[in-house]
Amino acid sequence: MENSDLLEIAYKARVSVLKMTHKAKAAHVGSSLSVVDIAVQLFSQISKRDLNDQSRDIVLVSKGHAAAGIYAVLAHLNLIPFEYIDEYCENGSALGGHVTSTNVEILELSTGSLGHALPFGVGRALAKKRKRFDGTVYVILSDGECDEGSNWEAALLASHLKLDNLVVVIDRNKLQSLKGTEETVALEPLSDKWEAFGWYCTKINGHNFSELSAVTQSSGFTSPRVYIADTIKGRGVSFMENNMSWHYKSPNTEDLEKALMELGKP
C-alpha cells in the first residue's frame, strides 16, 4: 500500500473512532486517536493473514483500552465487518471497550489489563523459533504501560533468548491516566532502559508513515527491537490533543461536529 492509501485509512479510522465513542458514550478517544497510525502501519503491512499459517506475522495489542482505534482500523482494512464498529459497546454486540479476541480472531489476545501482551508475544516468538517458522510478532504497548513490571520481565528474557522476530512499538504520547508520564513515574531516558535490556531501540514519528515503515522492514537484526513512536494523544483534533480529560470523556454531538470538521481529509 502507498502512503497515500495509509493516510486515507487512518483518516477514515479517526472519523470512525469519533463516531464510535460518541455513539457509545465510550472513553479512551485520546488513546485511540494516538494509536491509529501505528495500527494502520502494522495491520496493513503484515504478511499472510491466514490464521492457520504458522509463518504469518502476528500483531498483539497490549494497550487494550485503545480498542475503538484498533477496531476502526481493522474495519477500514476490511479485517472485521463494519457492523461490528457500528454497534461498538452495545448490549449483546461483538465488541466492547477493550481489545478482545472473542469475536476478532486476528487479535488473538484479549487485553485491557496492561502488561499482558509482551509476555504472550515472547511465547509466540519463541514458538516460531523453536518450530522454525517465519514471521514477526509485533506488540503495541502504551508508554504508561511501561510502568508494569511484567513488561520488563519479558524484555529481559526476550533479549536473553535473542528473539529477533519480536518487535515492540511504544505509543509514546506522554500522557497516562492522571498526569504526564514524566510526572507520574518518569520513564526517561526510555531508550536507554530498553537498550540496557539488550534491545535494538530507535525513536520514530508515530504519525509519519515514512518513518513507521521501518517497523515492518526487518533484516539483519540479532536482537528484539523496540520503536519508541512519538505520538500525540488525541491526534487530529486540536481540543483533544494532549488533553488529559479525553482519556475519559466521550465527544457529545457538538464535540463530534467540531472534531469531524477539524480532522480534514488527507
Binding site: L109, P119, F120, G123, K128, E153
Partner: protein, 311 residues
C-alpha cells in the same frame, strides 16, 4: 510426587512432540531429565512468574501442550491475572504444576504454604483442578492433563509421599474408594489422605466402626454426579487447605445445589497456626488436620453426638 510427575511427563514427551515444559527457575535435580532429553521443548523462564505464564499462553497458542512447573504459590497467586486473562479466557492448553501442596514445605514458612490455592484457582473459568493423593494418582493426572486440552492446575505434594493405590493406574473421573465403610464417609483430596487412613484405622480399632474414605482427585462437579451421598448418614471432608472456598466448600456447594440431605462436617486448616514454625507433620497437627485431630472430629460427630441423642 514431583519425580513421578517429571518422569511420566518425560516419557510421554517421547511420543508427543507438542509437550513443552516451562520452569520458573525451580526443580533442581528434578527437571534436568526433561531438559536433557528435549532441550528444544524446555525453557527456564527465570524468576519472573507473570512473564512465565504469559509466555506459556503464547506457546500454547502456537500449538504446544504447555506444562509450567514451579512451587508453592509462585505459579498461581503471583501471576493470577495472567492465568485468568491469558490462559483461561483464551482457553489455552496450559497445565500449571505446583509442587508443595499444603504444608509440604513446612519449615520454609508461610510464603511457601500452598493453602489457599484450590479456592482461588477454582473460581477461574474453565480450569480443571487436579489434586492427586499419591504417586499413582499423579501418573494418571499427567495422562489426564494431556487428554484434556485447556487450562489445568495440578497440585502436587513434594517428595516421598506414601503410595495408597495398589494399582498402576486409576480413573480420575470419579471418587476413588481407598477404604470400605457403610454409614460414614470421609472425602479427601491430596496427600493428606494418609492421615485420613490412620485416623479411620484408629477409629475402627477403638469403636469397631468402618468409615469409608474416598480420594477426590479432580475438583469437578462431573466427578460427583454419580456419587451416592445418601448412602451415608454423615459425610466428612478433609483437605490440607483453608476453609474458604476450598475442597470442603466445594462439596458443601455441591450438596446444596443438588438438594442432597446429608450431615456434612468439614475438616480444614485452622489459620491460627500460619505463623508457627515446624515440619509438615507438626503443622498438620497444630492446624487440626493430622490423624489425631481427624479421629477426634469423627469421635465427636459419630460417637459423642449419637450418645447425646440416645440420652
Amino acid at each position: 510426587m514431583r519425580n513421578t510427575f517429571i518422569n511420566n511427563l518425560t516419557e510421554l514427551a517421547s511420543h508427543d512432540e507438542s509437550i513443552f515444559l516451562v520452569v520458573g527457575d525451580l526443580g533442581y535435580g528434578v527437571v534436568e531429565i526433561f531438559e536433557n532429553k528435549f532441550p528444544s521443548r524446555f525453557l527456564n523462564a527465570g524468576i519472573a512468574e507473570q512473564n512465565m505464564i504469559g509466555l506459556s499462553a503464547g506457546l500454547a497458542k502456537s500449538g504446544y501442550k504447555v506444562f509450567v512447573y514451579s512451587i508453592a504459590n509462585f505459579p498461581t497467586l503471583r501471576c493470577l491475572e495472567q492465568i485468568r486473562n491469558d490462559v483461561c479466557y483464551g482457553d489455552l492448553d496450559v497445565t500449571i504444576v505446583s509442587v508443595g501442596a499444603g504444608f509440604s514445605y513446612g519449615v520454609l514458612g508461610y510464603s511457601h504454604f500452598a493453602i489457599e490455592d484450590i479456592s482461588i484457582m477454582r473460581t477461574l473459568p474453565g480450569i480443571k483442578i487436579l489434586s492427586p493423593s499419591d504417586p499413582v494418582e499423579v501418573k494418571s493426572a499427567v495422562k489426564y492433563a494431556l487428554n484434556n486440552p485447556g487450562p489445568k492446575y495440578l497440585r502436587l505434594g513434594k517428595n516421598g509421599e506414601q503410595i495408597i493405590h495398589q494399582t498402576d493406574d486409576v480413573n480420575l473421573g470419579s471418587p476413588i474408594e481407598i477404604q470400605n465403610g457403610s454409614e460414614y464417609c470421609l472425602l479427601v483430596t491430596g496427600s493428606i489422605a494418609t492421615e485420613a487412613l490412620l485416623a479411620v484405622k484408629k477409629f475402627n480399632e477403638e469403636f469397631n466402626i468402618d468409615v469409608a474414605i474416598f480420594s477426590i482427585p479432580t475438583i469437578s462437579t462431573d466427578l460427583l454426579s454419580e456419587f451416592k451421598f445418601n448412602k451415608f448418614s454423615k459425610i466428612f471432608t478433609l483437605e490440607e487447605h483453608v476453609a474458604s472456598g476450598g475442597f470442603g466448600s466445594f462439596i458443601a456447594e455441591f450438596i446444596v445445589d443438588n438438594r442432597i440431605s446429608v450431615d456434612l462436617t468439614r475438616i480444614f486448616i485452622s489459620t491460627k497456626s500460619i505463623k508457627l514454625i515446624g515440619d509438615q507433620a507438626y503443622l498438620r497437627k497444630v492446624s487440626g488436620i493430622d490423624f489425631t485431630s481427624i479421629f477426634n472430629v469423627l469421635k465427636s460427630k459419630i460417637i459423642d453426638m449419637e450418645t447425646n441423642l440416645d440420652s
